[in-house]
């Protein structure tokens, strides 16, 4: 199975309604608020260290039984900049894509150095719904 590193589109940032726990010394997001500043149309989006996917992409991921992920709710809002750039643009529904798989083993894996790593079959699912703004490069074991 081939694997790929992917840098998803960054359409905005972690909003002020997020709940972030730093009690362990690490940044752990307990509740995610994603605020859009723009949107190039990709259905997998990032704001480090979180990822969101459109609801319809989530359904495709579930249907393909891809591993290394779970889903949770996300609050989505549009920033003033978004409203000015796209006063009439509607956003689809999004969900929080939580990744706990291992890079090079699961369909979705995450690590410090490689970042987000996806399998070839995960890439096919993502491409089917659109990730034209993402950067995708082959992942070599040991990276």
């Amino acid at each position: 199975m081939k694997y790929y590193q992917i840098e998803p589109e960054v359409a905005g940032g972690i909003g002020e309604h997020s709940e972030i726990d730093r009690s362990s010394g690490k940044m752990v997001v307990r509740k995610l608020h994603y605020e859009f500043d723009g949107w190039g149309g990709d259905e997998l989006l990032e704001s480090t260290p979180c990822f969101i996917v459109s609801e319809r992409l989530a359904h495709e991921i579930e249907r393909a039984q891809l591993t290394g992920i779970s889903f949770d709710d996300v609050e989505v809002t549009k920033s003033d900049q978004f409203e000015e750039l796209y006063p009439n643009r509607q956003l689809p529904k999004f969900v929080w894509l939580q990744i706990d798989g291992k890079p090079g083993q699961d369909d979705f894996g995450i690590g410090k150095d490689p970042g987000l790593v996806i399998s070839e079959r995960a890439l096919e699912v993502l491409k089917g719904l659109g990730i034209s703004n993402a950067l995708v490069t082959p992942f070599e074991e040991g990276q």
Binding site: E7, E9, V10, A11, G12, G13, I14, G15, E16, S18, I20, G25, K26, M27, E35, D37, G38, G40, E46, S47, T48, P49, Q81, E84, L85, K112, G115, N133, L135
Partner: protein, 91 residues
């Protein structure tokens, strides 16, 4: 109409509390004018990805950038994309 863009992103306040103040984020020095250009959002998207790459190693190592590091990255981004702003910056 020219719109305002924060060169050091507002979300730094959420991701790295204490790195900069809210006053510094909203200061005139941190604002860039965005022209009403159809290609503007392509550039803004590239800028967001640049910042995302910058944040990752700090989040991965549970550290935070210093104000000097944030300003250095902002200068680097100005040099890459400053020509799109009104007025142009980063020459």
């Amino acid at each position: 109409m020219v719109r305002a863009h924060h060169t050091v992103e507002q979300q730094v306040l959420t991701k790295f509390p204490g790195a900069v103040t809210e006053e510094e984020i909203h200061s005139l020095e941190n604002l860039r004018g965005i022209p009403p250009d159809i290609n503007t959002d392509v550039h803004l998207s590239q800028i967001r990805m640049e910042w995302s790459r910058f944040y990752k190693p700090f989040i991965d190592t549970d550290t935070a950038p210093t104000k000097a590091q944030l300003l250095q990255k902002a200068t680097e981004i100005d040099s890459m994309f400053g020509s799109m702003f009104m007025p142009p910056v980063g020459g």
